[in-house]
Subunit: 234 residues, 2 copies
Amino acid sequence: MSEAAIDAAPERKRGSGVKMVYDLLRDDILDLALLPGSPIDEVQLAERFGMSRTPIREALVRLASEGLVETLPNRSTMVSNIDFLNLHHFFDAITLMYRVTTRLAARARRPEDLQIIRAHQAQFAAAVAAQDALAMISTNREFHAAIAEAARNPYFLNISLRILDDGRRLLRLYYQSFEDRLPQEYVEEHEAIIAAIEARDVELCDRLARAHADQIVRQIQQLFARDHRQDLAL
Amino acid sequence: MSEAAIDAAPERKRGSGVKMVYDLLRDDILDLALLPGSPIDEVQLAERFGMSRTPIREALVRLASEGLVETLPNRSTMVSNIDFLNLHHFFDAITLMYRVTTRLAARARRPEDLQIIRAHQAQFAAAVAAQDALAMISTNREFHAAIAEAARNPYFLNISLRILDDGRRLLRLYYQSFEDRLPQEYVEEHEAIIAAIEARDVELCDRLARAHADQIVRQIQQLFARDHRQDLAL
DNA sequence: TGAATTTTATTTGTCGACAAAAAATAGACA
DNA sequence: TGTCTATTTTTTGTCGACAAATAAAATTCA
C-alpha cells in the first residue's frame, strides 16, 4: 500500500527476496493481518517490494504447499480459510502432539534444549505479566515449538509446527478475551512441564501435556460458544 | 535422456506442465529411479519436457517443501538423502500414525471408505500372490493411506502420507528381500484391521495397528542388519 | 611439481514481455 | 428491462534473456 517501499533501497542480495516475501506474508496470514479468504495480488506485491513477479510466485507456491494459501488454476490465490466446522480435528491433533513431543522431549532433551525452552517460557511469562495477548499467543507457540524441537523427531516436529500455526491463527481471532485468569494457569502448567522434562519423567510429561491441551481446548470451545451466542443475539 | 520427448506433441494445456513434472519427479524419487543425493538439472529437464525452466522450478519448489529434494542457494538442487542413522524416528512415527489413523478410522469411517480400503487390500493381496515386490510396496502404501483418509483428520493425514512415502523409499531399497513368508502375514493382518474398522472396535484397531507396525519395523531392522553384514564382508 | 590466483564456463535467480484464460464490460436483441 | 452474446480488460502461466554466483579450468609463481 505505502509507496515508500518502492523507492526504498533496491539493493537486495540475490535469493533473499523470496524469503522476505514468504516470511512477511506468512506472518501477516498467521496474525490475521491478511484475513482468510482475502485475495493476494501478485502484481501489487511485486510493486510493493520492487521486484518482479517471479520471486513473489515462488513464495506463494511455498505458502500453498504449507496450506496457508490456496491457488485456483488460472485464478487468483487467496488466504486459506479456517475450518471452524471441524475444530475437533485440530483438538485431537494438538492434544496428541503435545503429549508425544513432551514425552519424547523428556527422553531426548539436552541441556541446551532446556535453556531454549526456559527462555521462551520467560518471554511467555513476561507477556502474561504485561497482559499483552498477541505476545502471549506467539510466545506460547514458541514454547511448544521448542519442546517439539527437543523431541528431535522430524515428522512430529513438522506436524507440530503446522498445528501450532493454525492455533496461533485461531487464538488470534479472540485475543481480546485473554484478560481473565487463565494465562496465569498456563504459566504454572508450563513450569510443571519444564520440570518434568528436566526430570525425564515421561509419564508425568504425558499427564501434564494432556491436561494442558485439555485446558486450551476448553478455552477455545468457550470462546467459540460465546461467539455463537453473540451471533444469535444479533 | 530420450530425445523422443523433445519432438513429441508440444501441445499442452496451460498449467498442466508443473503437475506433470512434479508427479514424474516425485514418482522417480520415491521409486529410487532418482537416487538420493543425485543432482537435478533444471535445464536438462526443461529440454526433456520441451518447456522453459519456470514450470520446472515451480515443481522443484513444491518438492522441496515436501522434503523430497534439497535446494542449496545458488547451487544445484538434489534428491534428499534417507537418514539411515535416525531410523528410530521413522519407526516411532509410523507406529503412532498407524495406531492413530486406524483408531480414528474405526470411529469416522463411512461405507464408501471401507470399499476403497478393501479395493487397495485386494490389489495388495494380488501383488503378494504375484510375488511382485514393487507392487506390494506401492499398494501397501495405498492401503494405509486409505485408512488415513477414512480417519478424516487432515493433520494426521498429512503426516501419514509423508511417513508412508518415506517408507516406500526405504522398502524400495530392499525390494529383493520380499520373497519370504512375511507378505502373507501382512495380508492377514490387513484383513483383521479392516474387520476391526468395520466393527468400530477402537481398542482392537489400536492393538492390531501396533502389532502391524511392530512387524514392519522388525522387518526393516532385519533388512538393515543383513545389509550391514554384507558391507562388512566386502 | 604443487599451491595460489586469474580466467573461463556453467548454473542459478530475476526480469520484462507475451499469450492463454477468466472476469468485467458493452452491445444486441427480444 | 432482462438475457444472451461479443468485446474489452485484467490476471495468470510461460517464455527467452541476462546478470550474479559458483564451479571448473587455465595460468602464474614458488
